[in-house]
């Protein structure tokens, strides 16, 4: 661990056990598919077999007569949604598109697009009845590839969509290009012309899925008093509540969302798919309704991340990156909103260079509407940029990490948006990587190679709200509203323990439902430990202020005459008077009632973070298999609250990146049918496919956070794609520009190159 200028902490940096650990290792923890409200019945969704078709008619009469059927819902049961854009959490949502993606009204835009839903006494009856819904389609030609979709003669997903240009104008002709943008600084043409060396390449990545192990599941009860209760798997209970309220046109306060334990999300459990449908089925059937996806529905009907085609032309001058021209084309899926902007804003973050010109295209295709996936937009862009940087460095015979260090961004460096960086740890990360024993060890043997790459993610702030209740026995309840996906109950309780100077074990954190705590934005953007951590810190300060005034009352002094240090309140007027936190907690009733603190905030000052990865591979030229021999991930995390879970986030992100680099892709046939919608065929890494991942923590504290925290979870998925491609290039002498680097691709390109 490399640590820069950090205060001494008591709890932060230790490795206590997580509050939800026992429930999870014994199988008692309740996930979304687990609760069984009394009288619950089961729903099933009917989905489109076509990638692109107009819905001519839907006939539910035969299905309604099927035994056991209690209710059927189609888009006609939704109130007409407004064609307006609203911010309902992480990013803007067009309400009509949101509604249409949940149940299609006029057109189906991808295979797996939901059309109708049935509730019945058993899952089997619901499934059988759903098959009896007759849908007449006018089948249209699908377009499933970003370059095809951009052609002027491409089939249009929406005949009334025109390209939204910079400055808000729209294109004359309708187009699948939903939006075009550009970022410019300096003079890229001139910069390239004066460069010592220019490399130009085009890169392709495939659509990939988050691959969370728990399929989406939602159980809803439309209660007799008109309120709705929803038990669901989500990264943001308040976002579910807001979106269900909009889709069903119901006041927010009438909806209670109970966030269950969540079985992975990685961004994919921010959008809603099932919740309003389950609610309407419950209204029709008069029973609580459980709707769960199977794995194929998850692959075909939820939001993966974009396939991309990215062109980069980059020049080096005086051993540094000097000028870059890039065009990013991202598949948005069925509706606009790919993360192409984030790709453009992150790909050059590791560099300080003068001349930049980036063009971005957000393109709709007949595939599922994409949603966030861990550092959305950044990994594909980094794959392109970091591959080109590697080629520049190697051609110039400069060590690729030294080349990055020569060109490294630092505090004050302007980003492509023009905004200068605050204190960042890019150089510290690069220096740590360069001197790591992995990087200084030789790599030898035929078809073995080493690659490096860097990556960046902004990390988020947004809204958080917490309540801290001090109990008479000195224990503390921490009530928060951020879904805990990977250990944030622990990381928040640790920050509260640090703030209050009390033992971690004295704090019981819970994730409350939407009736029981103020608004909290999604667990996403690596924001929870940062932003809810700021709220916890402020609420802890609030508690200390309140308890100081209670002590002042007991001692007949003013609150300013009370100090708090190491868990003890001291009277500054009389050194014989002191009370421990626990002793004072017991005095609540005598000193003015229950003691509590709270904080609600919009977190500012979230700190962007960098990672640099080193990977050794061996390629088998006979089978095309790439084996990861050794992997080291160096990352600036600001302050590691719980180092074990920080390491876990880094290791998990790396292995998702390994899957993206080597195996994972959505495979489509010419009719837009996904051919590998199972875990067997969509090949995610297993324990056998990866080595131990060495996570090296660098701590350059974030000046915008009371404990210096930066987000952790997203950065580690950014560098692996390029790092592995660069290692394969080193091992084979061949530069691969298309992912995944599957055995078939390797053999084809290596044989073709002979």
């Amino acid at each position: 661990m490399t640590t820069i200028e950090r205060p001494a902490y008591k709890v932060i940096g230790s490795r206590p056990v997580r509050p939800d650990g026992v429930e999870k290792v014994t199988g008692k923890a309740q996930y979304a598919a687990d609760p069984r409200p009394q009288g619950v019945v089961f729903g099933k969704i009917l989905r489109s077999p076509h990638a692109h078709a107009r819905i001519v008619s839907i006939d539910t009469s035969e299905a309604e007569r099927h035994p056991g059927v209690l209710g059927i819902v189609t888009a006609a049961d939704f109130p007409q949604a407004e064609d307006k854009v609203q911010d309902l959490g992480e990013g803007a949502v067009n309400l009509r598109e949101l509604s249409d993606n949940i149940l299609a009204s006029e057109k189906v835009l991808y295979r797996g697009h939901a059309i109708a839903a049935v509730a019945a006494a058993s899952p089997h009856e619901a499934e059988a009845a759903a098959q009896k819904i007759r849908v007449e389609y006018e089948v249209l030609t699908p377009v499933t590839n970003v370059l095809d979709a951009m052609r002027e003669d491409a089939p249009l997903l929406n005949e009334t969509r025109h390209t939204k240009m910079m400055g808000g104008q729209h294109s004359e002709r309708p187009s699948n290009i939903a939006a075009y943008n550009q970022f410019k600084a300096g003079d890229a043409d001139a910069g390239l012309a004066e460069s010592d060396l220019v490399v130009e390449r085009e890169f392709t990545t495939s659509m990939v899925h988050q691959g969370y192990i728990e399929p989406q599941s939602s159980t809803a009860s439309w209660n007799a008093d008109g309120t709705i209760t929803i038990w669901t798997s989500t990264q943001g209970a308040f976002v579910v509540r807001a979106q269900v309220a909009e889709v069903l046109r119901i006041p927010v306060a009438r909806i209670k969302v109970i966030p269950m334990e969540i079985g992975g999300g990685f961004g994919g459990k921010i959008p809603i798919y099932l919740d309003p449908v389950a609610a309407l089925l419950s209204k029709k059937s008069g029973r609580p309704v459980k709707l769960s996806m199977n794995r194929t529905e998850v692959f075909e009907g939820t939001g993966p991340t974009s396939g991309t085609v990215i062109s980069v032309k980059a020049g080096a001058k005086d051993g540094k990156l000097h000028a870059v021209q890039a065009t990013l084309r991202y598949e948005a899926g069925a509706y606009p909103g790919s993360p192409v902007g984030a790709g453009a804003m992150t790909m050059l973050a590791p560099y300080d260079l003068e001349h930049v010109e980036i063009h971005t295209f957000d393109v709709v295709v007949n595939k599922p509407k994409t949603s966030a996936y861990r550092a959305p937009g950044s990994p594909a862009a980094a794959f392109a940029m970091e591959s080109v940087v590697d080629e520049l460095a190697r051609t110039l015979k400069i060590d690729p990490l030294q080349f990055r260090l020569n060109s490294a961004s630092k505090e004050g460096t302007k980003q492509v948006t023009g905004v200068p960086f605050a204190r960042i740890g890019n150089e510290e990360v690069l220096n740590t990587a360069m001197t790591h024993p992995h990087y200084t060890a030789p790599i030898e043997g035929p078809y073995r190679g080493r690659g490096v790459a860097s990556g960046y993610w902004f990390n988020g702030g947004m809204q958080s709200s917490v309540v801290v209740a001090v109990n008479p026995d000195g224990t503390v309840n921490l009530v928060e509203g951020s879904t805990d996906i990977g250990g944030t109950r622990a990381s928040l309780a640790m920050q509260l323990a640090e703030t209050l100077s009390i033992p971690y074990d004295a704090i019981r954190p819970i994730v409350a439902d939407t009736d029981s705590i103020g608004h909290n934005d999604v667990t996403g953007g690596s924001r929870t430990t940062v932003a809810s951590g700021m709220a916890v810190y402020q609420a802890g300060q609030d508690v200390i202020r309140e308890m100081s005034s209670r002590a002042a009352r007991l001692w007949s002094v003013t609150p300013e005459d009370v100090s708090y240090e190491d868990g003890v309140f001291h009277c500054l007027k009389d050194s014989t008077k002191e009370l421990t936190f626990k002793e004072l907690a017991a005095q609540g009733a005598r000193t003015g009632g229950p003691i509590a603190g709270r904080a609600s905030l919009v977190a500012r000052g979230a700190g962007g973070a960098f990672g640099t990865h080193i990977v050794d591979v061996e390629v088998d030229p006979g089978t095309g298999k790439t084996t990861i021999l050794r992997y080291t991930a160096v990352q600036d995390v600001g302050t590691a609250i719980h180092p074990s879970y920080v390491e876990g986030q880094i290791q998990g992100g790396v292995v998702q990146g390994i899957g993206w680099a080597l195996n994972e892709e959505f495979v489509y046939d010419e009719n837009g049918r996904m051919l590998n919608s199972s875990f067997l065929d969509y090949r995610m890494p297993t324990a056998l496919d990866v080595p131990l991942i060495d996570a090296v923590i660098v701590e350059v504290p974030n000046p915008g956070h009371p404990y210096g925290v930066r987000g952790v979870g997203e950065v580690p998925i950014v560098p692996p794609l390029a790092a592995i491609a660069n290692a394969v290039a080193d091992a084979t002498g061949h530069r691969f520009t298309q992912l995944p680097l599957s055995p078939r691709r390797l053999i084809e390109e290596l044989d073709g190159g002979d």
């Binding site: 999870k24 199988g27 089997h124 728990e214 794995r295 074990s644 290791q651 324990a687």
Partner: protein, 161 residues
């Protein structure tokens, strides 16, 4: 469709229930018997989240029919701890931070226990090979493999005692 009567032992207790012939063991455990610790990730034997031990063999309960367990001996994640005493694997998973979201954890623990009971000296390579039928998307497997290695000595000591 007539129901079948099943009598079986689950986690040491005799259990009787009626089931349709097409119902999977996973579905019977979760929907009829209230044992929701076994998780559904794929329902086709690819992910291991529903692992249980049936007559001493590790199986995916989604790929076994409920009627097949008539007369059998079954251990699920709910039967791994000894009352309030966690099994060494459960303790090492907590201590080593070997879970993040936790949805795959029951399957990993049931599978790892089955391995160490038959091969108490399994090394890292063997553990990775054995656990290749269990998918985890959060941890990158690093801390899971470490937790299994860490639990092994205590399990060996308990087996000798």
């Amino acid at each position: 469709m007539s129901k079948h009567h099943v009598i079986t032992r689950i986690n040491g207790e005799q259990v009787e229930f009626l089931t349709d012939p097409g119902t999977s063991l996973l579905s019977a455990l979760r929907d009829q018997l209230g044992l929701t610790g076994s998780k559904e990730g794929c329902n086709n034997g690819n992910c291991g989240a529903c692992n249980v031990v049936l007559n001493g063999e590790l199986v995916n309960s989604c790929c076994v029919l409920a009627v097949e367990i008539n007369g059998a001996e079954l251990t699920t994640i709910e039967g791994v701890a000894d009352g309030d005493n966690l099994h060494p694997l459960q303790q090492s998973f907590i201590n080593d931070a070997a879970l993040q979201c936790g949805i795959c954890t029951p399957g990993f623990i049931v599978a790892a226990k089955a391995l160490l009971e038959r091969e108490p000296d399994a090394d890292e390579a063997r553990i990775r090979h054995w656990l290749a039928g269990n998918l985890c998307r959060c941890t990158g497997y690093d801390k899971i493999v470490q937790a299994v290695l860490d639990a092994a000595p205590e399990m060996r000591a308990a087996a000798r005692a």
